[in-house]
């Protein structure tokens, strides 16, 4: 883009003459898969540790590797780490790396892993996943050999491997500070990148899992959903990430594309703040939880493409207590609770925004439903750019969402007292103790039992009204094979090393 203007004009003049012939050049060709992702323009980065956008995470997955990945139920599967074990206290973890190489030929070593995790934990990096490594004692952690390292924790955690598969925990070569042309160990190597526009990567033949089928992979940043869909339908791109339920329904009958819909991908919830009136009264909280028709919300706000929630995160994931009876609407009971609490005619503002396509429709339906209890909930649309930090401080009720994560991670980061993203202000020494004990329990079955107990407690008191789980929809051209529906944060989400065009 730095050419002098006259040459641009020259090209234009020549091109204008050819205009009628130009338009219909097909976008495909040369085995380059083009994937369109939503963007936030210049905010995009190739630094995997500060990546916060889906397009950043997808590119990081192509260029780098993590120690482990998440299966569909968020259990961990080995990637760069071949095997690992904890000592009986759950504070010392030994990890053995598989033989792997960076794009420049250097082997991936224990030092690279330590450097990457130190960098993520360093507050100066402002890394997305710093919380996962806050408990690591880096002074005591060390490389035992080139392929084996020991990480030492300040508190026992038998779920620690979950941290190694979190987004933005990719392994970078030790000493890397500049990510303009990054070197990773992932299935694709860096080619070109222009923030907010496009990135082109090429196949890395030396990848430990075998070379990808695609010679080239291009990420195109397209902010508008309609533009992503028309680019896909007209053959300009082969993969359109993040397609809403409505668009997915329109695309269903179209033979040119396939919609990949991953169920239970995103928890859709309303955070009711239990540290302030009116929801500090458990009866008022309970009344709202009982006053909501979750099926109607799924049918209307999610266009039926989703599942009802049961006021708990992680339906279908490992450690989710699946044996609980589904909470259903009980208007007389809800009214009685409100009467008892002297909260009839309750009014509150329901914060919402367009940062998620389902927030605003859900707010409208929800306001109507609680209206039948005599509660006036007024939806208030807040700016999407700062929404998630606004709702941490402000208001009493706000729509929120969380993509799939290991349940233990969610509980640690959203439910424990004073944790970073505890949107409901839930503080319970009892819950904290259960959670802590669970993490310190080596026995898998006993740990699962304790985590289930902690979740049952949170379900009634944490103030999180989980009304549903939305699907994650991706639309791909009929030419694309080797990609499957997968929830964001999981290993198979936005994974292109098995993809092929044909």
């Amino acid at each position: 883009m730095n050419r002098p203007l006259w040459s641009r004009r020259g090209v234009l003049a020549a091109a204008a003459a050819a205009l009628p012939l130009a338009g219909c050049a097909p976008a495909a060709g040369g085995g380059r898969l083009r994937a369109a992702f939503p963007t936030s323009g210049a905010k995009e980065t190739l630094d995997p540790h500060t990546a916060s956008l889906f397009v950043d995470q997808a590119r990081a997955k192509a260029l780098f590797d993590t120690l482990v990945g998440y299966a569909d139920d968020m259990s961990v599967v080995p990637r760069l780490a071949e095997s690992w074990e904890a000592d009986p206290t759950g504070t010392r973890w030994r990890i053995r790396l598989r033989p792997a190489r960076f794009h420049d030929g250097r082997p991936v070593t224990a030092e690279d892993v330590l450097y990457s995790y130190r960098r993520i934990a360093d507050p100066a990096t402002a890394a997305t996943s710093s919380d996962h490594f806050a408990d690591v004692d880096f002074a005591a952690s060390r490389a035992r050999s080139a392929t084996e390292l020991e990480l030492v924790l300040r508190a026992p955690n038998f779920e620690f491997p979950a941290a190694w598969g979190a987004p933005a925990t990719e392994i970078v070569p030790a000493g890397t500070t500049d990510f303009r042309a990054p070197v990773g160990s992932g299935p694709f190597r860096f080619g070109a990148f222009e923030p907010g526009t496009s990135a082109v990567f090429s196949r890395f033949d030396g990848h430990w899992a075998g070379a990808p089928a695609l010679p080239e992979l291009e990420f195109a940043s397209v902010a508008e959903e309609s533009a992503r869909v028309s680019a896909l339908l007209s053959g300009q791109v082969h993969y359109a990430h993040d397609v809403s339920a409505n668009a997915a329904r329109r695309l269903d009958g179209d033979g040119r594309v396939r919609v990949l819909s991953a169920p239970r991908s995103t928890m859709q919830a309303v955070a009711l703040k239990v540290d302030r009136p009116p929801f500090d009264d458990p009866r008022v909280l309970q009344a709202v939880l009982l006053g909501v028709d979750r099926q109607a919300l799924v049918d209307i706000a999610l266009s039926g493409r989703g599942e009802v929630g049961d006021d708990l995160f992680g339906k279908g994931l490992r450690h989710y207590p699946a044996d609980l009876p589904q909470r259903t609407r009980d208007v007389p009971r809800a009214r009685a609770l409100l009467r008892e609490a002297g909260a009839e005619g309750l009014r509150f503002e329901l914060l919402t925004s367009d940062s998620d396509p389902y927030f605003e429709p859900a707010a409208t339906v929800l306001a109507q439903q609680v209206g039948e209890l005599g509660i006036t909930a007024t939806p208030r649309v807040r700016p999407s750019e700062t929404y998630f930090s606004d709702i941490e401080q402000q208001g009493v009720a706000a729509h929120t969402r969380t993509a799939a994560l290991p349940v233990s991670t969610f509980l640690a980061q959203r439910m424990t007292s004073g944790s970073g993203s505890n949107y409901t202000g839930f503080r319970s020494p009892e819950f904290d103790a259960l959670h802590r004990t669970a993490l310190a329990t080596a026995d898998e079955a006993e740990r699962a039992r304790l985590l289930a107990q902690a979740q049952r407690l949170a379900r009634d008191r944490s103030g999180l009204l989980v009304w549903g789980f939305s699907n994650w929809n991706v639309a791909v051209s009929a030419q694309v094979s080797g990609v499957r529906a997968a929830v964001p944060n999981s290993l198979d989400w936005a994974r292109f090393d098995r993809a092929a065009l044909g």
Binding site: M1, N2, L5, R8, V11, L12, A15, A16, A18, L19, A22, G23, C24, A25, A27, R34, A36, S40, G41, A42, K43, S52, L53, P123, A124, A126, T128, S130, D131, A192, E194, P195, G196, T197, S198, V200, E218, A220, S221, V222, A223, E224, S226, A227, S230, A231, L233, S234, G235, Q236, V237, R382, P383, E385, T386, F388, S389, D390, G420, S421
Partner: protein, 314 residues
């Protein structure tokens, strides 16, 4: 030329007012770059660290004076988001927008004159009414809807033209002119209406005015009356409208760039505001204000040239 100096001074004051106002308004928006960058991963600690790194912990008065001082030295500062010089970023985005905007103007100008004159010389003729109807319909459809329809028909159904700029692989737009056809078509349809109507009204008015009747009575051929006398008078108000067309293009470009995924000032400006990237927002404000002031001044001057005082119609 003598009355140009006060205009320039007023223009400078206007630009200064816009720059200050935009700075104040953007500062009043909730959140700052640190919060926006961290998004869903923002925790108070991370926000504090990033805020310090970006210098956002300094009082806003100090930051404004810094920026204004830089502007006077010709330095637009660096982007909070990317750390790149604002001038460089702005230059790229302006270049991206200049192409569709210039093409639109190149098409709108002759089209508007043609349509306006065709209607204006014989007001209420069948041709005039048909043209007016078509133009009014085009004007009534929002850019967004029009763009979707055109994409649906010409890109998705017929496959004649590319739907978006996705997959340009960072190539300059000029290398793939097909990408520009639909965006420019949308902009032209939208901007044609007010301008053509203004030309039509002007031409119709001038054609029916006393001076034209007088010239015809003197036996001047109709062609000469039209081209030498009616048209210049009729175009004068249209030149003012043209200035507004340029302003309107800036607005239309925001919508069209989003719709077609084109890189340019529209998406650049929206991104900058969303990211609270003040140096970039400010630079845009100055450029937009400067453009508006320049174009409007030029329009006034041109209008005066077109209509020598003796032929001015009320």
């Amino acid at each position: 030329m003598r009355d140009l100096l006060p205009r320039v001074l007023v223009g400078l004051v206007q630009i200064a007012v816009v720059a200050t106002g935009v700075f104040a308004l953007t500062s009043w928006l909730p959140g700052d770059t640190a919060v926006v960058v961290l998004g869903e991963h923002a925790t108070p600690e991370r926000v504090a660290v990033l805020r310090e790194q970006l210098g956002l912990d300094r009082p806003w008065g100090e930051r404004f004076l810094d920026w204004a001082g830089g502007l006077l030295r010709g330095d637009l500062g660096t982007s909070l988001l990317t750390g790149r010089p604002v001038a460089e970023q702005l230059g790229e985005q302006l270049a991206g927008t200049a192409l569709p905007a210039a093409l639109t103007l190149l098409l709108v100008l002759p089209l508007a004159v043609l349509v306006g004159v065709a209607g204006g010389v014989r007001p209420d003729s069948r041709a005039d009414r048909a043209l007016r109807a078509v133009i009014a319909v085009l004007n009534a459809i929002p850019e967004f809807a029009l763009g979707m329809v055109l994409v649906g028909v010409f890109a998705v159904q017929l496959g004649w033209l590319p739907a978006t700029a996705a997959g340009l692989s960072g190539l300059p737009l000029a290398a793939q002119p097909g990408v520009l056809v639909l965006p420019v078509a949308v902009l032209v349809c939208k901007q044609l209406c007010p301008l053509a109507r203004q030309v039509r009204v002007g031409v119709a008015g001038a054609s029916a005015a006393g001076f034209a009747a007088h010239l015809r009575m003197l036996g001047m051929p109709e062609r000469t009356v039209l081209l030498r006398h009616v048209l210049p008078n009729g175009l004068a108000p249209a030149v003012q409208q043209l200035a507004r067309t340029v302003d309107g293009l800036l607005g239309g470009v925001v919508v069209v760039e989003a719709l077609f995924g084109l890189p340019g000032v529209g998406s650049g400006f929206v991104d900058a505001v969303e990211a609270r990237d003040l140096p970039v927002v400010q630079a845009y404000a100055v450029v937009f204000a400067l453009t508006t002031v320049l174009v409007n001044t030029a329009a006034d001057v041109a209008a005066r040239r077109l209509v020598p005082q003796r032929e001015v119609i009320a």
